[in-house]
């Protein structure tokens, strides 16, 4: 329901990064959407596609990967992906567990144009 504002936040981040690489084109962006992030990947992809289309790089790909919720058990250290968000540790039964992955929305990477010469030069 709020993916438009999330898409804007993602886009601000993309533009800030692209400003550091003037003259380059944006080819693709990779996002990770956690299962417990509260964001819907399809709505987010749709909202971002509209921003991309209006941008300087209208053909850039929006790639979204979903990340399952991963919990860690504070008692035995086991990491697990809970079914139906059941937080109890499947190994030892402890309910002292914390989510460690799958709770946020991340901009993982950007793919930008560059020339061959530059790929060999140090950044």
């Amino acid at each position: 329901m709020h993916e438009v504002s999330l898409a804007r936040a993602v886009w601000r981040q993309v533009e800030a990064e692209m400003a550091r690489h003037p003259g380059r084109g944006l080819l693709a962006m990779d996002l990770v959407v956690g299962a417990f992030s509260g964001a819907d990947p399809e709505s987010l992809a749709f909202a971002l596609s509209l921003l991309v289309r209006e941008s300087d790089w209208p053909d850039a790909d929006v790639r979204i990967r979903t990340e399952p919720l991963t919990m860690a058990c504070c008692a035995c250290g086991r990491e697990f992906t809970p079914e139906h968000f059941d937080p109890a540790c499947p190994a030892c039964g402890s309910v002292d567990t914390d989510p460690i992955r799958g709770t946020d929305l991340r901009l993982e990477s950007l793919e930008v144009e560059t020339d061959d010469a530059e790929t060999h030069s140090a950044r």
Binding site: H2, S5, G38, F85, V95, L110, E118
Partner: protein
């Protein structure tokens, strides 16, 4: 040849930034802020009315009300003795930090012990919008069914307390309090469930106690940075 730039940056929204500012402001003023969420009609306003009446002597309290339309709930809370400021969201399905910041102009936070924010009735979107609050409370009610916690896991997972209202109607609706508590445990094992009936007053003492303890846990105002 394309070049990959690895960022791995968590997306911080404008709302997150503003919410962090609000949280600072609450702490500097030393006011406990409680964000109440529920489906429409679960009893958030009735709970606040009861709170206004019962705790008026103990704390200086105020409220912010979120609704799509009308100031009906604000009038009810004011009638119960608590200052209240209405936010009408129009089509908006949740309160955001910008709206709360504007509504705060009505109050001098240093004159308050507790500020309640009654969110728009909705168990989906409000959960995703931090308002800088110290505590989140989900109000659920027996006619909604005992499986609410697993159907709306995000709201329950992020809550600090669940108030189960309308226990006086449980018999009429085949509601199982044991099943409800089981589902809450499945989502968040240590989440307290307070069974109340705002209509009969049953169990409200537990809620008042929770509010008092939350207020005590906050302690005095944070020293000013300047």
């Amino acid at each position: 040849m394309p070049k990959r730039i690895r960022l791995d940056k968590a997306i911080v929204t404008e709302n997150d930034r503003l919410a962090a500012d609000l949280a600072d402001r609450y702490d500097r003023a030393g006011v406990l802020v409680v964000n109440l969420m529920s489906s429409p009609g679960a009893g958030k306003t009735t709970l606040l009315e009861a709170t206004a009446r019962r705790l008026a002597g103990a704390f200086r309290m105020a409220a912010i009300e979120g609704d799509l339309a009308t100031d009906r709930d604000t009038r009810r809370i004011i009638d119960a003795g608590m200052p209240c400021r209405q936010i009408n969201t129009g089509g908006g399905c949740h309160l955001n930090a910008v709206q709360v910041r504007e509504a705060l102009d009505a109050y001098d936070l240093r004159d308050l012990d507790i500020l309640f924010i009654e969110n728009v009735g909705n168990l989906v979107c409000p959960a995703a919008f931090d308002l800088g609050e110290h505590r989140r409370v989900v109000v659920s009610s027996t006619p909604e069914g005992d499986d609410k916690p697993i159907k709306y896991p995000v709201a329950f997972r992020l809550a600090d307390c669940v108030v189960l209202n309308k226990t006086d109607l449980a018999g009429a609706t085949d509601f199982s309090a044991d099943a409800f508590r089981g589902y809450v445990r499945d989502i968040k094992a240590d989440l307290p469930v307070l069974e109340v009936s705002c209509k009969t007053g049953d169990g409200l003492a537990g809620w008042f106690q929770w509010v008092k303890e939350a207020r005590e846990a906050l302690g005095p105002p944070a020293p000013d940075a300047e």
